[in-house]
Each structure stands twice: as structure tokens, then as C-alpha cells.
């Protein structure tokens, strides 16, 4: 396939007259970089006189300083950097806190959940046996998230608790019922595992269990 010619998207060489264009480019550059960029660095990279760059940067600083902007272009450490205005930090922080977090699971939790999903009902020792990992279980996390529930006790000495997945589990993974879980055979048919990511050495895994 051919590369799309992006010059069609309306880029013109920033000429002396086209200050709006240059200002736009400066805005984009300051947004994109994490480290403060000095006027000199920018001027050198874009091939424009430093005075001109400095003047336009100052315009940007002044514009973003207006109260209707929540962002600011600041001069820090001899360079320019975009950031949120300090007076809105609490509002932003509160907002971020309220964002419904996606279902996040540690690798250990995901492994445990996978074992329960496919082997249910199953006891904690059995899960550990399958996972080949000893140490603190993540069952509590999964119970708290209502992804698994207790399902009676196994009729062996010690009567260990059996675990199964819940309705919430089905909802979270978009399953109508458990029979919709892909079988391992189906998974393998999706193409041989090309061992994409090398398995972390077992020591690290065991260590992270305890951590």
C-alpha cells in the first residue's frame, strides 16, 4: 500500500508571513514535549530566527494566561512547557478520582481467575497446585470485586471452600453464560503461540506473589 501523502493535508512551509502557522507549530511542539524546550532549541530545529520564535512564544504565554484557559505555557528551567494551571489542580484531581476505573487485575489475580473460570468449582489448594505458585492468594481481591464467590465446600478432610465465578464475571467479560468461554482448543486454533512475550522467570513471579 502506498503511503498517504500527508502534504495534502494542507501543510505549507512556514514562511515569514505565515505567523499563524508558525504559532500553531510552536503550540504543538510545546504540547508534545515533556522537557521544557528553550527558544534557541526550537529556533534551531525549525530554522527560524530566535527573535521571531521568542516573540511568538511570548504571545502563546500571554494567550494561555487568560482565565478561560485551563492550560498554561510556562517558562521553566530556561525553556517553555505546557501544563495545567495550578488553580484547577484540585478540580482535575477530583475528576480523575471519579473516573470509573477499568477493571484492573494483577497478573496473579488474572491467573487465579482464569484457573477458577476453567476449573470451577475449585479449592484454594487446587488453584495453587495448578498455578504452581505458593504464597498469599489473591482470592480476596477477586471476592471483593465480586468476580468469584464461594460455592460450598469440598467433601474431603479439612472441607476446603470451593470457588466459582459469578454473574459479575460474565458481565465483565461479556459472556452470556460459561459455555461461551473460549475453549483452549479454539484458542490454539487462532494460531500457534509464537511465544510472543518471554515468560518471566519463575523466581520473579513467585517473588511478586509475596510482594
Amino acid at each position: 500500500m502506498e503511503e498517504l501523502d500527508l502534504s495534502q493535508l494542507g501543510e505549507e512551509r512556514p514562511s515569514g508571513g505565515d505567523e499563524a502557522q508558525l504559532k500553531a507549530i510552536l503550540e504543538a511542539i510545546i504540547y508534545v514535549t515533556d522537557e521544557p524546550l528553550s527558544a534557541q532549541q526550537i529556533a534551531a530545529a525549525l530554522g527560524h530566527p530566535i527573535d521571531k520564535i521568542k516573540r511568538i512564544l511570548d504571545e502563546l504565554v500571554a494567550e494561555y494566561a487568560r482565565p478561560e484557559h485551563g492550560l498554561t505555557v510556562r517558562e521553566v528551567a530556561g525553556g517553555y512547557k505546557m501544563a495545567t494551571k495550578a488553580e484547577h489542580h484540585e478540580a482535575v484531581r477530583a475528576f480523575v478520582k471519579k473516573l470509573t476505573p477499568p477493571l484492573k487485575l494483577s497478573l496473579a489475580a488474572l491467573e487465579t481467575l482464569a484457573v477458577i473460570a476453567y476449573k470451577q468449582p475449585v479449592t484454594a489448594p487446587e488453584i495453587m497446585e495448578i498455578r504452581g505458585v505458593q504464597g498469599a492468594s489473591v482470592l480476596k481481591t477477586l471476592l471483593e470485586r465480586k468476580l468469584i464467590a464461594e460455592s460450598g465446600r469440598k467433601n474431603v478432610v479439612g472441607k476446603p471452600i470451593l470457588y466459582k465465578t459469578t454473574k459479575e464475571f460474565l458481565v465483565q467479560f461479556g459472556l452470556k453464560d460459561l459455555s461461551e468461554l473460549p475453549t483452549l482448543k479454539e484458542f490454539e486454533e487462532l494460531g500457534r503461540m509464537e511465544v510472543v512475550e518471554p515468560d518471566p522467570p519463575p523466581e520473579t513471579k513467585a517473588a511478586s506473589e509475596h510482594g
Binding site: V92, P101, A117, P202
Partner: protein
């Protein structure tokens, strides 16, 4: 007939791709495909691929058969009277429909590609890290696919479980006694359990030593016995009558726990 195209032998992603290319490169009207010509070119491509040891999948051969079938159908003379009563569908129609459908999706893929090119020229620089609370530890946002894949990984790991030293504090003799108790409880009463099997399942030297001591403890308690059917045969572990009285209450374990503390 000589092929009008320079075939890029490995280029085609399936027979539909090859046919479309033959048709479009020669500016053939897709609604009136000269089937004999295209079939010959198609077969020539397959021949060349064969000569160059390019592996062709089954669907290339199936398509060759389809083309020859269509060609033969078109050669059959048709009864003009019957045609009036029951107009026969063009034998090429089904193939043409598939080719057109395939081509539409090729165009759609091209459109997606162009959208990606634009997206590659766009950068976003979120700064959310600065606002995340420290206790908001990042985890994995997971899908069903992740779940299956994880299970697969767990099973793979079980197969090739390596021996490694785990934390020294992790396994003790009482742990191993509990482990053995569980093993026997899950087996039928008369079953002999292979000692070698039990040891092979251990993942550290310490675990093996603890298992060995645990076996001795349980033999001492007369909960289990050792059996060997022939002089150099496998050693097996067998549940004895004393098993119940030894593990019927937690008392035995309490004593052992104290003894090894």
C-alpha cells in the same frame, strides 16, 4: 498463451487476490470475465509456483477446480428454447459476486490504512500520571482474550515446571504432612501412590527433603506404609488403618507443628 503479468509469486493472499489482480491489471470487465483466458493464466501461476517451490494452500487448488468447472459449463451448448422458459444464471455470477465482495473489503482495508497514516501523524500527550493518587496502582485492563491466554500460560508452565528454590520459609515438614494428607484423601482408599511421582512434583530441594521427612513421620504414625512389589521396583505409599485415627482430629497436626517449630 503467455502470461501478461509478472507474477509476484508469494504476493497473493489467497486465490481471490490473485484473480482480482489478473482481472484488474488487464483491465478486464469483471462482469464479463473471459473465463478460458483467466483460467489459463491462473493455472500458469500455479504451475510456476510449483516450479519455484512456493507452497500454495488448498484454497488455490479448490479455486482452480472452480474455474475449470465454470469454463466447462460455459462450453456446453444451451437449448435456446429452454433458456427462454428457464433462463440459466451465468455460471460466472457466483464467482464475480465473491470477487466484488472481496474487492470492496480490499478498498475498506485501504481506507483503514489511510486513516492509520493520519493517526500516525497525530500525537497525544496525556499527563494523567501527575494526578493519579499513589494508591492507584496500575494493573492490567483485561479482556476475555487475556483470560484464555493466561490460562494457557498457566498450563504451559505446569508442563515445563522448572525446579527452583523458593523462599526458604515456604515449605516445612508439617506443610508436607498436610500436603500428603490431602493427596491421600483425594485418592481412593486402596490406591498406592508412587513415591517417585510425589518427589518429582516438588519444585525445590528443600521441598523434597521436607517431603521425605513427612513420609517418615507418617510412617511412624502408622498412617501410611511403604510398599514395594518387586525387589528393585517402584516404592509406593499406601494408606493404612491408622490414617483416620492420626488425622481424624487436628490434635496430631498441632503436636507436629509444635515439634517442628
Amino acid at each position: 498463451m503467455t502470461a501478461p503479468l509478472n507474477f509476484h509469486l508469494e504476493h497473493y493472499d489467497g486465490p481471490l487476490d490473485l484473480l482480482l489482480d489478473l482481472i484488474r491489471k488487464q483491465e478486464i470487465n469483471i462482469y464479463d470475465i473471459p473465463i478460458a483466458q483467466i483460467t489459463a493464466q491462473y493455472l500458469e501461476y500455479m504451475q510456476r509456483a510449483l516450479e519455484m517451490d512456493v507452497e500454495l494452500s488448498a484454497e488455490f487448488i479448490y479455486m482452480a477446480a472452480t474455474l475449470i468447472h465454470i469454463k466447462s459449463k460455459m462450453l456446453l451448448p444451451r437449448d435456446p428454447e429452454l433458456d427462454k422458459l428457464l433462463p440459466e444464471e451465468d455460471p460466472r455470477k457466483e464467482l464475480v459476486d465473491r470477487l466484488l465482495e472481496h474487492e470492496r473489503f480490499k478498498s475498506a482495508a485501504e481506507m483503514l490504512h489511510q486513516k492509520r497514516v493520519i493517526e500516525e501523524a497525530v500525537w497525544s500527550n496525556p499527563q494523567i500520571e501527575q494526578f493519579l493518587a499513589e494508591d492507584n496502582n496500575p494493573g492490567l485492563a483485561v479482556t476475555l482474550f487475556d483470560l484464555v491466554k493466561t490460562f494457557q500460560v498457566v498450563l504451559e508452565r505446569t508442563k515445563s515446571r522448572p525446579i527452583y528454590e523458593i523462599d526458604k520459609e515456604d515449605v516445612s515438614v508439617p506443610d508436607m504432612i498436610r500436603y500428603l494428607r490431602n493427596v491421600f484423601e483425594n485418592e481412593s482408599r486402596s490406591e498406592t501412590i508412587s513415591a517417585r511421582g510425589l518427589f518429582e512434583r516438588q519444585r525445590s530441594r528443600r521441598a523434597m527433603i521436607c517431603l521425605f521427612l513427612a513420609v517418615l513421620e507418617m510412617v511412624k504414625l502408622q498412617a501410611i506404609g511403604l510398599v514395594q512389589n518387586d525387589s528393585f521396583g517402584e516404592i509406593g505409599l499406601k494408606r493404612l488403618k491408622g490414617f483416620e485415627s492420626a488425622f481424624g482430629s487436628e490434635q496430631t497436626m498441632t503436636v507436629i507443628d509444635e515439634g517442628y517449630h
